[in-house]
Structure formats: C-alpha cells, structure tokens
C-alpha cells in the first residue's frame, strides 16, 4: 500500500499527468511523501501507546524504510533529473543553498537508520545504542520540515502544518519521557504482552 504513491507517479508519467513541469512535479511529490512517511513513522509510538495496541510497532520499521525510500527517490530526482549528475553544481548547491544543505542533512541522517533497521542490528548494537541511534529520526524530521519551509516562496501553510505535526509528535515524547519505564529495546521491537503499555 505504501507503494501506491509511487504507482500513482508512474501512472501519471505514462498518461501525461505530470503537468507542464514534470521534473518539478516528481520532486515535489517524492518530497511530500518522504515527509508524510516520516510523520507516520513518528506517529506509531504515540498511537500504539494511546490506543493500547503495542502490536502496531510492526509497522514502524516498514513506514520508516518507506520514508527513506521516497527520500532516495526525491534525492535521485534532484541529482539526476534536475542536476543531471553535475557534481560541481550539486556541491555548490549544498554549500551555498541553505535549504539544499538541510535537505541533504535530513536525507543523510536516514541512511544509518535504514542500514540498521533489522533485528540483527538491534542485537549487534545493543538495545540502548540502537535506540539512541534511531532517535536521529527526530533530527531528520525537523530538518525535513525546515528544508520545506526554506524552499517555499511565500505560501508557508504546508511547511507550517508539517512542522506542527512533527512538533506535536516530538512534544508527546518529551512529555511521556518522565512517565515511561526505563528504555528496554526488546520491549520496543517485539510484540508486547497484552496489557503492557
């Protein structure tokens, strides 16, 4: 189901549905979906705690990987379709254009998360370290919102909206940190016994 956005893009591409500036359309669409999947990933923990449905954690890795997937498409669109692999132009962009720098940062932060997303890595790193590493998604999500905010010309509604969503999801964690039991990796990655928050 997470591949539907990609499917839609491909369908549009073959049916002249990308509009007058297709590369811009693809860049925006893949960017939007990266942000949406980041938000969905961040929403898993609050939702499963609030609904008392710990098994929802199953979806967290998949949603996170899809955020990375669309992030890759977004980055690839920029690198290939926009800059056509002109490395010098891209380096100049990353160095000079704040919104590209922070977008690139948001993307790069997801790479170690994608690479260590499996249970094997949780064992290898140890639960505490894995969890600490994966908190980088907070930074990535914030960077992604700022990237969006810094690139729009004047209509800031959508960046502000996503910022509010990310802000709320991070705020929830800040508030619930005091209430939560000390972190134990095995509990956050495997289905928990019923009744356990």
């Amino acid at each position: 189901m997470c591949l539907i956005p990609l499917g839609l893009l491909l369908w549009r591409g073959t049916h002249d549905g990308l509009g007058a500036n297709p590369i811009e359309f693809i860049t925006h669409a893949t960017g939007d979906w990266t942000l949406r999947f980041l938000v969905l990933t961040l929403a898993v923990t609050p939702v499963r705690k609030l609904l008392g449905r710990p098994q929802l954690v199953r979806f967290r890795r998949m949603l996170g990987l899809f955020a990375f997937f669309y992030g890759c498409l977004h980055f690839l669109t920029y690198v290939w379709l926009d800059k056509f692999f002109d490395v010098q132009a891209m380096l100049a962009d990353v160095a000079k254009r704040r919104f590209i720098t922070i977008g690139f940062t948001a993307f790069v932060l997801l790479i170690p998360l994608a690479l260590t997303s499996t249970a094997g890595w949780i064992r290898r790193l140890g639960g505490r370290r894995w969890q600490a590493l994966h908190r980088l998604i907070y930074v990535s999500a914030v960077a992604a919102v700022v990237h969006y905010y810094w690139l729009v010309k004047s209509d800031i509604r959508l960046p502000v909206f996503y910022g509010a969503l990310v802000g709320m999801l991070l705020l929830w964690r800040a508030v619930n940190r005091r209430k939560a039991a000390p972190a134990s990796a095995s509990r956050t990655t495997q289905p928990e016994p019923a009744g356990n928050g």
Binding site: A20, N21, I23, A92, S154, D155, R157
Partner: protein, 301 residues
C-alpha cells in the same frame, strides 16, 4: 515600421466580441478553462519576435503563478474560470497631462495589434516562449502626456477577495503592484498584452490585459491591470514588499546574480528535459543593456 496594422475585417467587432463572451459564459464555460471565453485576435508580425519554439498553449494555460487564484501552479486554470473580466477599465493617472479611464475596447483601438513571440523567464527557474498579442506600452504612455516629474510608471492589478478567496493565503500583500522606470516603460519591447496564441488572454494568464516585460523575471509582468499611474518616486512592487532581500525593483534576468536561495545560472524550458543556460536580460541584452549602463546590477537587482 509596419503600417498595415490589422485589416479592418480581422479585428473582432466590439459587439461580436462581447456577445461571444456572454454566450460562452451562458453555456457555463468549457472544461478546458482556456477556450471558454476566448475570442480570436490577430497581430501583425514583429521583428522583436523570437523564432524559438513556442511552448504549447496547454502548458502555458495550466502552469501559472497567479496567487490570487491559488499558490499551486495548476490552481489558477481552475479557480479563475469565473473571473469576471467584462466590463473592464484601466485608469491612467498621476503625473499625466491627459488622465483617462479607458474601457478595454478603447484600449484595443489605441494601436494596431502586434504578435510578439517572447521568451518569458520566471524567477523560480523555468521559462516558456509565448506568442503574445498586444501593442507597445509607450503608445498608451505617450497619449497620457507624462509631465516632467513622471520618472516611473506604477501598475496595479485587480483584486477582489470575493472572486479571489485564495488571495489571503498568497503570502504576499494584495492588490498586486508593480513598477518600471520610465525609460524601461517606454522601451518598444515592453508591451501591454491582450491576447496569446491567437486568442484573447485566458483568465489564468492575466485577462483581459497585462504587461509583458521580457527582459525581466516574470513576476514583473503584472496581470489583469486596472491602474497605470505615472509617478515621481520609485513605486512599491509586491514581491519587493514581501521579501526585499530576494526580489529587487529591477529584477532583470541575470545568470550572474543568484537568488539568495537558488542559482539563476540555468533554467528549465518547459517541454525540454535538460536545463539550459540562462541569458543575461533573457537574451534581450542587445535591446536593453544600455538602459543599465554604469549600474551595479548586483546592487540594483
């Protein structure tokens, strides 16, 4: 200098022009939004036209920055469908010996219509080639008899929150205003356009009358003009008010002066895959560079 103008039989008689619009309006308009209220227009060929490949009319009418009708490129084609452009008047005022309020028909009679195929470069980094139909702005300005204090020309766009409810989300103050230095305004390249692609302007492209200044970024080519005022001091311009750090008064197309947030060295011509190099003054340097002789174009951007 062409003297033929338009043969009398080719200019749509006023009554037919107006009735066509009313008839089509009564039909509820057509889905495309562009053909709905169009009347045919012909313009004489001009040496100022480029021979570059024209962008498809479909692209130019469905990819618009007209924030009063939504900030997404595809919104204006839809949301401007019912924009009422009849009747229309343009008030010429200010430092003018002959102030006048013109109806659109009166404006259409001021000069023979010409076809001007111009490159049009948006500050965002995309460009198109559009066959505009109009006449030089200087015709209207000279008729107004500018006084000795008329150093600039200020323009104002139509704004009606009821017809343009999206305007409040635009992020820019409305009504949209623009301005030119008098010598820029008098330059033969600057036109008042009333049509494109052989028809009257679609609503989303600035109906019924707009400015086209092809050597500047597209946002200077103000749409749906209702006021032209001759003034002494440099007038406010909307994007400069919204963000002076990024949008200057002159806004001449210049690959050497980047936008603070993105490069202006290249552009994407709609319909093409690879980006192209942007030309200084959008390729009209031979005609206009002298207007800026001695100016620091980095400071006066």
């Amino acid at each position: 200098m062409w003297t033929s103008g338009i043969p009398a039989g080719e200019v749509t008689p006023k009554s037919v022009y107006l009735n066509r619009r009313r008839f089509l309006g009564a039909m509820g308009g057509l889905a495309a939004g562009r053909a709905a209220f169009a009347a045919k227009l012909t313009g004489a060929k001009s040496p100022y036209s480029t021979s570059e490949k024209q962008t498809s009319a479909s692209d130019v009418t469905h990819y618009n920055n007209y924030y009063e009708f939504g900030t997404e490129k595809t919104q204006p084609a839809d949301l401007a469908k019912n924009f009422k452009t009849v009747p229309w008047s343009v008030s010429v005022e200010g430092e003018a010996g002959k102030k006048q309020v013109y109806s659109l028909d009166e404006i259409l009679k001021l000069a023979p219509l010409e076809e001007r195929i111009y490159r049009h470069r948006c500050v965002e980094g995309w460009s198109i080639v559009v066959p505009w139909i109009g006449f030089p702005l200087n015709v209207l300005l000279r008729r107004a008899e500018p006084t000795a204090k008329a150093h600039f020309v200020a323009f104002e766009s139509y704004y009606d929150p009821r017809q343009m409810p999206q305007g409040k989300y635009a992020g820019i103050p409305l009504p949209y205003v623009e301005g030119l230095r008098m010598d820029e305004a008098l330059h033969p390249l600057a036109i008042l356009a009333v049509g494109m692609y052989g028809e009257t302007l679609p609503n989303q492209d600035g109906a019924p009358i707009r400015l086209v200044v092809p050597w500047k970024y597209g946002f200077k080519s103000i749409k749906s003009i209702v006021k032209i005022r001759l003034v002494e001091k440099q007038p406010p311009t909307t994007w400069n008010i919204a963000n002076a750090h990024e949008y200057g008064f002159y806004s001449n197309v210049n690959p050497e002066v980047d936008h603070p947030r993105w490069s202006q060295a290249t552009e994407r011509r709609l319909g093409e895959f690879l980006r192209r190099k942007t030309l200084k003054f959008n390729g009209y340097g031979n005609d206009v560079a002298q207007l800026y002789a001695g100016m620091d174009l980095r400071k006066s951007f």
